[in-house]
Symmetry: D2
Subunit: 270 residues, 4 copies
């Protein structure tokens, strides 16, 4: 009957009601990265076959807070900012696949539905959460300056329970915001068959990378990170043995299509 419009769901007569506008997507925001070492065995247990633990520094991971504006190529979301602003926290591990090193978001939380839906497409396993991150300011006493001594707090909670709290204090600048989140992303996209018999209708490994990247200076410093026991999360299996460092950076980039690295056939195809 109808020629339905829209990138994701619902596909509709005009496309206006879709949960997520089509790509490309543009992002501007602030990222606060806390790199730390935990038990490599607890990183390994996050990697499905055939992914392998990174060969160097295999217990190094990163918990990253981000405060974003994002929009489609229409840019209209920026003028209705409820649809552009969201906050995000993600736990990045590294892995090896076919002799290449990838970054991988093992856990990720956001606070808007369009961001959740974009995660489903990109293979980010996004859940909803309450996320807060101090903003740098240029005037007045109620915020840090982007200079040594500037202090930031960052928190994430689900179901009214804190998952993690961090404090970051700028001590200087750095060349890069760490090394854990520095590789192309390798994500799983899986969908249980509606029969719910253990089979997946969709089972893929995908990779993607941003473009049109614009980067601010990297502010580096000291970080404290507390990961709380939480019955509906498993981040507490990754408690920090040792903080590697903290990094704050303003960034801009764009994302569009990625690459299917591997895909199974749909066993339900008929």
């Amino acid at each position: 009957m109808a020629e339905l419009q829209g990138f994701m769901y619902p596909r509709t007569p005009t496309g206006a009601a879709g949960i997520l506008p089509g790509p490309p997507w543009h992002y501007s925001g602030e990222m606060l990265t806390i790199e730390f070492r935990t038990d490599p065995a607890n990183v390994a247990e996050l990697l499905p076959e055939p992914l392998q633990l990174a060969e160097t520094d295999p217990g190094a991971v990163a918990l990253i807070w981000a405060d974003w504006q994002s929009c489609s190529d229409s840019f209209e979301e920026l003028l209705d900012p409820a649809r552009a602003q969201y906050k995000e926290v993600f736990l990045v591990v590294r892995c090896q696949y076919q002799d290449k090193t990838y970054s991988r978001a093992a856990y990720i939380w956001v606070d808007k539905d369009f961001a959740m839906a974009r995660g489903v497409v990109q293979g980010y396993p996004k859940k909803l959460s309450e996320i807060w991150m101090t903003r740098a300011v240029s005037f007045g006493k109620a915020g840090p300056r982007l200079e040594p001594g500037g202090r930031f707090g960052a928190t994430v909670s689900t179901w009214g329970r804190r998952i993690a709290d961090a404090v970051f204090t700028i001590t200087g600048t750095a060349e890069t915001p760490g090394f854990v989140n520095a590789h192309p992303m390798l994500h799983s996209r899986q969908m249980p068959a509606i029969e719910m018999d253990g089979r997946d209708s969709l089972d893929e490994l995908v990779t993607m990378r941003g473009f049109d990247v614009e980067l601010g200076p990297v502010y580096a410093g000291d970080a404290e990170l507390e990961i709380h026991d939480n019955p509906t999360e498993e981040l507490d299996r990754l408690k920090p043995f040792e903080i590697i460092g903290g990094y704050y950076r303003q960034v801009g980039n764009s994302m569009a299509g990625g690459t299917t690295v591997w895909a199974a056939g749909n066993p339900m195809a008929k």
Copy 2:
């Protein structure tokens, strides 16, 4: 490396962090159904090929509010009710597929992430929303009784804009809560390929039906429904020509696996 646990995403060492517990899922709640007729052409434009408009009363649709508790077979969510309670609004149309009549949720909104994720599995195109529905009470003046004269309000909003408001007044009882939502559900499950080139990695038609159904009496009555113009929704293409009726019922049921009615192969399989 690891044997990951969990029905949906993220698949994790213990499964505790998954966005959605595995099936079966149990539901108890109240449903308020407003059936109305709109232009059949505006129902037809919601149906992707090869779905066809229902042969009888093709302009009849239903907007349904529901106030749910749901849980897994562990029942633990009921003791942490943030994870059990959610509200839902959905627009149901009927369609024909291979000579059979199905109900289909063309639009649906919920207010929790686990319900959104369950929608992705079941093919319900769920977005987040603010949803409110009057509750019946047995004591005091601040609520309707389940008897003639009892009045209920129901609203749904996204991004701080109302989508629809309804008022329902009980006049008596009925055998059934209407006919639009009386068929097995036929839903699309689609996922754009990560290449974002117009292909879908997943493209299926699925059907499912509840079991262990327990039903309260159907309260029937008069309904008013206002669907507001809204730039991020398309429900306003379905403004009511004529109200068929309103129905309120307390229900319980369970859901588990359904049936893949049709599935394309994954064009990205390699």
Copy 3:
């Protein structure tokens, strides 16, 4: 210039924009009461002079969850239920004042602004919170029945941190839902002078009691209560030594004016 309308603020041309409609207010809802004993010294420290600790069982307190609908005499809020439904948790202590025993809400949390504003008028020191409480159901598996074995969970959180969790299991019925919340309320209403020099422009003790009370049966049972350490709350100073009991009841009542028991003059009057 203008004759402004409205009970509380803002007072406006028509009164429609007031945060709180004028009295009377009608309430219907469910109350879950957990009575327990804690150190009487930690009750005493909650009572400003000249209030005295209750003479009998001075360490007995109650933490009460309530799931409300409320409305004004226009009843219009019930048809726009975002403005009628709210959830509440409060810690009730008893005190003596001029040889009379009163109940007093030392801490209270709600999840809507109109309820917060009503608290300011009534002397309930309401803060915003996330509150959840299992609902009894009549059909299906996703909720307790109002009969022995029915189990309810109840939680309250602020700033993404749990304050308290409770589980209640019905074992039978009782005559009354405990004794702690059985007296007229005695609350303080205080407002710092805008000079913020330690003086209060308003300083009163007020009492009030509901009317048109309609009560359902009292379901009594076993209760578990965990009060969590929380840096922005002091409920953790009242950890339970001993659970007295749990009680669930559906109630309805109305509230209007109370009585000023004592009031200081406004020292800023000029």
Copy 4:
């Protein structure tokens, strides 16, 4: 019995649980001011006796969006930013009182409870709301730059209904962000007597002004403003006849005690 601690309510053993830390309060944020002219009669109807309409340009008002961080002198809220960040929208009118011109927030909405409570102290008639305002960015495409052509959106909603939407486009700079919000604030602080018989226990006019003000450059430009009909608000009585201008500025300041300009005695004093 006890010496209770805390500036506002609840007053408690340690003061940690108070809804609002004591003054001074420090603020850093961004303000977007839309100045416009409406019917002076509709400004006059907002002014209680004995306030008078401003003599010059009496129909000029301002609708102001602000995205704040605020904290107490402990600065601890900045490291738990859920307790520091909030957004605000307020409608400012001017008035004359005893031959002096004041600014006055006739309507104001915020999105956190501590900000609501601070409004009660300062005489700002704050209600809760959903508020969004585009943020300027320095990198990437998903946000305006602070330069000509930079476009900002701003919205405010209550109960899932939009109250107002604005779009602001920078065209250049200006000396000041308009003239409506340029005077000391004159606010009413009123509290109905618990008898709810029409008397107020507290009735004051108060004034206050910030200090330690740090100001960024004023970006001026074109503004569009749409005020929507809304059954629970009266801002729609102030629809714009003519836009005066739009202004964006980053600001910092601090607030502490103000001055009681006039106060009635408490008629309930006993």
